[in-house]
Symmetry: C2
Subunit: 363 residues, 2 copies
Amino acid sequence: MSADNEAEAQEKLIDLAAEFYDQFERGDIPEMSVPTRTKSNIVFDEDENVWVYGDRESTRSANSVRGARKLLKAIYTIEFLSEQLEADRSSTLRELYYLSESWDVNEAQFSSQDESNQLVEDLEIVSEVTREDFHMRPEESGATIMGPLHLREQTRRGEREIHCQKDVGEGGYQIPNNPDTIEFLDHDADFVLCVETGGMRDRLVENGFDEEYNTIVVHLKGQPARATRRITKRLHDELDLPVTVFTDGDPWSYRIFGSVAYGSIKSAHLSEYLATPEAQFIGIQPEDIVEYDLPTDPLSDSDVNALESELEDPRFQTDYWEEQIEIQLDIEKKSEQQSLASHGLDFVTETYLPERLEAMGVL
Amino acid sequence: MSADNEAEAQEKLIDLAAEFYDQFERGDIPEMSVPTRTKSNIVFDEDENVWVYGDRESTRSANSVRGARKLLKAIYTIEFLSEQLEADRSSTLRELYYLSESWDVNEAQFSSQDESNQLVEDLEIVSEVTREDFHMRPEESGATIMGPLHLREQTRRGEREIHCQKDVGEGGYQIPNNPDTIEFLDHDADFVLCVETGGMRDRLVENGFDEEYNTIVVHLKGQPARATRRITKRLHDELDLPVTVFTDGDPWSYRIFGSVAYGSIKSAHLSEYLATPEAQFIGIQPEDIVEYDLPTDPLSDSDVNALESELEDPRFQTDYWEEQIEIQLDIEKKSEQQSLASHGLDFVTETYLPERLEAMGVL
């Protein structure tokens, strides 16, 4: 992130606080409005091709003691974040929660980490500055990359130039918490392949798939961290690479695809920053379970509920997903991506992925 | 891992299979004995200073259909592993489970992944070869290292020389699944600091603790993977570095320390390979909660049960742990390591860790 971003983030935070002063001055009761963050309040943005929040808003107003406390906490947090940016420091969401215990006004201290997490999200939405630009780090770390990509990372200790095949061990390149510190220097890639599980990621690397198919393999590590989604989007947008997503064949994994492609309900204000609407789902598709005769487990009740909930989720209301989900509800089975090993350890790299990528028009 | 290891692993596997033939030839019913893997069957090995399995054994014998099937599965697995070593391939435990579906005898196929996992552990114990030397990879990946350490990793794509501060981004060096592919070239470290949470690991790196105190910071990522414990032990044994462990102050985190220092019950056959008995616990100690006036949460019922269970665990029966656990049961509170932020973001690196490391004789 550039110093420009930091200065701008600081300015926008201070603008928020200034707005409270203006409201006081006008004789208004200070308040802050944020979009309602529920599934029923996300709408499709035709221009950006992502799902964003709709028009419904919740207002935090100082017209009640509870509302006034929320605004007080916001002011203290704004001050902390602004000082943090000034000093070029950063902190985790959990540290912010604990740090509030040192604040001089007891009423401004957070009573739970949920409260401080939510406030930071509110500030992100209202200020239109990302948490990363506030220098707030997540608890969970980003995942890894392996592929023909040469990059430069700006670290606190200076610049590091790293080739994500030649300069890393078998574990790959560890994505930093804020991937906007990365500049792409050069690459020899034809597409990006995001992989859900570590076992499959290791299989692709062992089989040399990234070398043979000029693929940047991004390990999602289950539900991907923001850093992982952000760098995936940047690989697509800046390097003009197709992005494909390879997960288990069950409703929880379709949500993983959804969070890469469409953004999540919790962070719909960040869809433009995190989502890659052009991302394509490789599989495991329900029809693959039948076609490739994969080992399966029966759907549990919660699997069925999750599939039915996806049918009603606006992000999954496409012909493709409706057909796949109907197939799965019909066959009542799910398969893991590693179940491809039932046809041998090379089946995934020699048969399944090439066939799917060709069908999708990526190869 | 060297080719020697691979040849030796293969030989030991084939010896196991040959033993079944010998039993047949002698007119004996084939059987395989493995130590009983429960808390009541681990004993302290005075020579190696680690906890290992005691004398109690369970026998898998072909004198029942169930037992005969277990041995059949063992034979098929031995053949697979031996071929895998021959071809210099590797696979995950989950792949092995699915791969068994391609075996020609239905009776040899695993009915659940628990069954294949347990068999591989049995084979480890009986053959005295580690899973890594069978080329079996875990699902979970190792964590990261940041510190003044220069190493060489032998990858499938050739050797990689990496300095764990100068050649890596802020995310650090990703530990490979089998850290015995690593050779330590040079270092400038005074001690190793293993850290439970990502938030604290990032705090130490941001504050430059690894540079200021010549520390190799190993991120444990919760309960550490085998790869993480193995490299920690090697840093201790080969570089003669003190190992310290910094976790949250609750019974689950003491188990994390325990698995680094004493080994786990599940893998007591590997204690000599994975455990670092000289590892010291930094904290958060229950007495620190009082002394540093840290923000706390009340102990839950399951916390209390876990503490009481630790008092009866042979690995925790030392004066130190009995005292600390008694303090915690008495104050009825626990604290996270990030709660040190209640005294400011630099308190952990400027005050807490230097004080604790001095008290422990590490600094």
